[in-house]
């Protein structure tokens, strides 16, 4: 009994210490975003901003670029999430429930392609989007999600496999075709898996840097992560605005996490389980 309590205290000590290491740098950054430039660059640094410069957050919007980057990020993320949900669930339904030629071969291919490092595919992707005149537009960033990525297929297929056969059989007797069964019966029954996939796609796309860095050249097309970095020149001498901009770009994903923490964890585990 005593040993157990001792062990728990050690556990708490470890985890509280670790949480502080996680959170304190963010708190410091939050304070930095509320400083004047003089305070921001003061050495030795003062932790608490004085005066509290709330206007930093307003300044970020004044240039207009940040607003544009936010709109771009929202477009890319929303279209990606829709694309992933529709295409992955549809393909997964076929793999889970329908019989068609080459099904098993094709599913092995899905699993196999999960192991191909994206590195080797980047350059041909660039060439493809160039020949489609899609470079320097937002299209390459989301259109690929409409073509059913393996992780999403795998995740949705697992969910569909759990649904008892009776449902589709009675629907079949009522004259539903496979697409109707998928749309009217299977989709509504798998909302949690949908949420998991949505949250995961959201996180990936909102934070993505490699693809925008490759496909985009004009500043007005940038998404938030690279857009903010590209503003450095305009704000030299006022870098505290960049900090405010970066923290604002964190807000949407933080909100998604707070509301859908369960699905984040599920997605994390299923991506670990293969």
């Amino acid at each position: 009994m005593k040993l157990n309590r001792f062990r728990k205290s050690v556990g708490y000590a470890v985890i509280i210490f670790s949480s502080l290491i996680m959170i304190l740098p963010f708190l410091t950054t939050l304070f930095n975003s509320l400083k004047t430039y003089a305070q921001y660059t003061a050495f030795p640094p003062k932790w608490i901003p004085r005066p509290i410069q709330w206007s930093n957050y307003l300044e970020v919007w004044k240039l207009g670029a940040f607003e544009q980057y936010t709109i771009n990020s929202v477009i890319v993320t929303v279209l990606s999430v829709c694309g992933a949900l529709i295409s992955c669930s549809m393909v997964a339904f076929a793999f889970a429930r329908l019989r068609f030629p080459f099904k098993n071969t094709l599913f092995m291919i899905v699993l196999g392609t999960m192991m191909i490092p994206p590195v080797v595919l980047i350059i041909p992707q660039f060439v493809i989007f160039k020949s489609l005149y899609m470079l320097d537009t937002l299209t390459p960033l989301w259109i690929i999600e409409w073509l059913a990525q393996p992780f999403g297929i795998f995740l949705m297929r697992q969910a569909f496999l759990m649904i008892p056969k009776d449902y589709e059989e009675s629907a079949k007797l009522d004259g539903c075709n496979p697409f109707q069964i998928y749309w009217k019966i299977f989709l509504p029954m798998c909302k949690p898996t949908f949420a998991t996939l949505a949250v995961f796609t959201f996180m990936t796309k909102w934070n993505e840097i490699l693809s925008p860095a490759i496909f985009l050249t004009s500043k007005e097309n940038f998404t938030l992560p690279i857009g903010i970095l590209s503003m450095a020149g305009q704000w030299s001498g006022n870098e505290q605005y960049m900090v405010a901009a970066a923290l604002m770009s964190l807000i949407p994903i933080l909100l998604v996490f707070l509301f859908a923490e369960k699905y984040f964890v599920q997605g994390t585990n299923s991506s670990g389980i293969k």
């Binding site: 076929a94 068609f100 041909p124 660039f126 073509l147 670990g272």
Partner: protein, 310 residues
Amino acid sequence: MGVKPLTPRIRRRRLNSDSKWGLLMVTPYIIHFIVFVLGSLLASLYFSFSHYDILNAPQWAGLANYKKLFQEPVFWKAMWNTVYFTILFVPLQTVLALILATALNQRLRGLKFFRLAHFVPVISSWTVILYVSDAIFNPRFGMANSFLLKIGLEPQKWLQDERLVIPLLVMIAVWKGIGYIMVIFLAGLQNVPSDVYEAAEIDGAGVFRKFMHITVPLISGTTFLVLILSTISTFQAFEQIYVMTGGALDASSAGGPNKSSLVLMIFLYQEGFTFLRMGYASAIAWVLFVILFILTALQVTLQKKWVHYE
């Protein structure tokens, strides 16, 4: 004309309709596979044997790209940097994440809060992390230098220091990614039946022995997966180094002082997209591919030696 039996015909019709719908519904993936996987793989392989600058058609060059690559000191430096980064990062993150998960697994209160705290870095983009780490490691006005001065040590240049840049990047990467790995471990730990621990406790095993002799072997499947996944993703690390060593402002400057943090992916990016040497960049990609393939195969072979499945 003979009357055909009714049932097989109906069954065949249904099968056909199923096939039709099945093929129709997997079409997105078929397109994906043909264009973005198979086609892309073949194209990439072909590019790696040619000179290709995007503007003109690729010119067959045989092994020229690979020969040049292996004679290039920068390539070997990038290779070493990548290996160095991975060797530091993967074990450190795995061990620390396992310790954290073990601590959290004792049915502590406030699990949700702790998980949130460890997930904030996970869900942040590298741009956000850049400013968070700048608050600490800015060479002019960061907290870390202020602390070093206070305890009587020399201030450091941190990311601008050739020797410090990779260890520091590794530290930040561990800090960012640990919550993610921790949750994977936590799921693994929750599958370990508690009666095994109880039995060990009756036999008088201490905390450390239980950890080493029960926890570690019983979750070795999870550990193995974490090791494979993080090695493979670390070998392809791009975003962190691109953002934190100034690549977003000037792609040719990414890779830190004196190319001390130039990893293979940054090298590939610069050759391909800054200098438009697409053939050469494809050769780098294929070298990376082969390394990753060998690593995976090696780990799968080694797995048999030390992973205990129930």
